[in-house]
């Protein structure tokens, strides 16, 4: 099976400090669902940054979508990034854009025509329950609403891989469940999903999801997901 991401002995260090991530070796397969857990400061966000190509590692090798991501020329990065959806922990919505425009941003960057993006954006707004707030600026939205917009923005382009950093941290349990259903639906369509979370209950929501645990920058593998191909995914009712 062709992998989506392969890490081989990857290390990451910021400046001259100690390594934040050490000796990471794992493979993510298409259509798999992974939870990334670990204590605060374990390196979850740093690992996600490597996954969404915001950083290059200090050592080791990364292959992404079948290409060497370390030696990838800078001008080819945008093409790869368009294949990855990202939900940032701090949402990072564009403050002067409306909810509609924030969600439509990835499609516009990809060059989708205006006539072709209104329908999917409207559908997405409806799905996250923010149709009435389509013209609202992020500053006027609650934390939970902002998070839903950030998730909608990440998934609207049907990315091949979705990377989410604490995507349910600011929403109520019902909305968290709905968002996970959205991730699971995307996953069924073939998107590889990586969700970093503290919420241990989320791990029980999706049967077949695999867990990656980071501890002080090192990866442990309690479910064996990194050694065995993924099982078919079942969302618990």
């Amino acid at each position: 099976m062709q992998s989506v991401v392969e890490f081989d002995n990857v290390g990451l260090r910021y400046g001259t400090g100690a390594e934040t991530l050490t000796d990471l070796s794992f493979t993510l397969y298409p259509g798999s669902f992974y939870f990334l857990t670990g204590a605060s400061g374990a390196g979850k966000t740093s690992l996600l940054k490597l996954l969404y190509l915001a950083h290059r590692p200090s050592r080791g090798a990364i292959r992404m979508f079948g290409h060497d991501a370390i030696t990838l020329p800078r001008d080819r990065l945008p093409g790869f990034r368009r294949r990855i959806g990202v939900v940032f922990q701090d949402f990072r919505l564009v403050p002067h854009l409306s909810t509609f425009d924030n969600i439509a941003l990835p499609l516009r960057i990809a060059g989708i025509q205006e006539k072709d993006l209104k329908s999917p954006v409207t559908e997405m707004l409806d799905w996250i329950g923010l149709t009435e707030r389509a013209d609202a600026r992020p500053a006027t939205l609650s934390g939970g609403e902002q998070q839903r917009v950030a998730i909608a923005r990440a998934v609207i382009g049907r990315p091949e891989m979705l990377v989410a950093d604490e995507p349910t941290g600011n929403v109520d349990p019902e909305m968290a469940r709905r968002l996970l259903q959205l991730f699971a639906a995307l996953n069924k369509l073939g998107t590889t999903v990586v969700v970093a979370t503290h919420d241990i209950h989320l791990l029980q929501e999706i049967d077949g999801a695999q867990m990656m645990r980071l501890d002080k920058g090192r990866l442990s593998d309690p479910t064996g997901s990194l050694r065995h191909p993924p099982r078919p995914l079942v969302l618990k009712n």
Partner: protein, 298 residues
Amino acid sequence: MLLDFALPAHDRKLIPEGRLSGPMPWVIAIMLFLTLLIAAMGLSLAYAIRNGGDDLALQATAQIIEPDPIERATQKVAVSRILRELPEIAAANSVPDVEVRNLLKPWLGNDVIDADIPVPALIDIRFKSVPDGAAVRALKRRLETIAPKIRIDSHSSWMAPFFDLMSSLILLTLAIFLLLLIATSAVVILAVRSTLNTHRGTIEIMHMMGGTDLQAARLFQRRVALDALLGGVVGFGAAATVILTLGGRIAAVEPALLAEASLPWYGWLILAIIPLAVMGLAMLMARWTVVSALKKML
């Protein structure tokens, strides 16, 4: 690059455009106002030198310095007649004695000039083409057979230091013009860097979503182009008002050489092109600044 200017409405929202509310259009307006004034000065000087210089180089004055008034008058008539017959001479006009005495009055005073003192007889000569020194000397030798004490002064020779000064002033205006363009470019670079810092978050998000450097650069180019366009209109309007006002006053001034220092029609064309060129330069600098800055990001 012009196509980059025409961004869709939704892309324009990514970097808010402040129009005339920000300092940038006003700074560009002031820089352009100064640039246009200095350009107009340089163009006017060049036009004056070319027109006035060519005209003066064709002219010379013959002085017949003969104390005997009857002999002087005879020689004046004879020299004028010969000059008119020469093929290289376009015109030879005797200056009336009254006019010569009037010219000398400010220096010699009315009492002296009204007395019967001898003043040289003057003949204005206009050549068909600009004569060199040898041609002027040959003409003098020929006329000395009729008027032995004749002197011929070529206007270009005594105006040479003045034209040297004018040429130096043109070089100075060119240097100031270039310095102002460099300063305008620096202002644009600083403004773009400042805007880039303000909107770094937006640009980073665009990058993470697969936006290219050129997509980001186009946003800044458009913003800078609009600022430069608005600044250009204001700067050109102010400069044109000053140039027209001064032009009217210069035209009324004697000597005629100063009056030549007006802006020719093609000068206005060049002045109109400068704001557009500055707008293009500003867009280029914005693109270069943004792409250079973004290359430091992954």
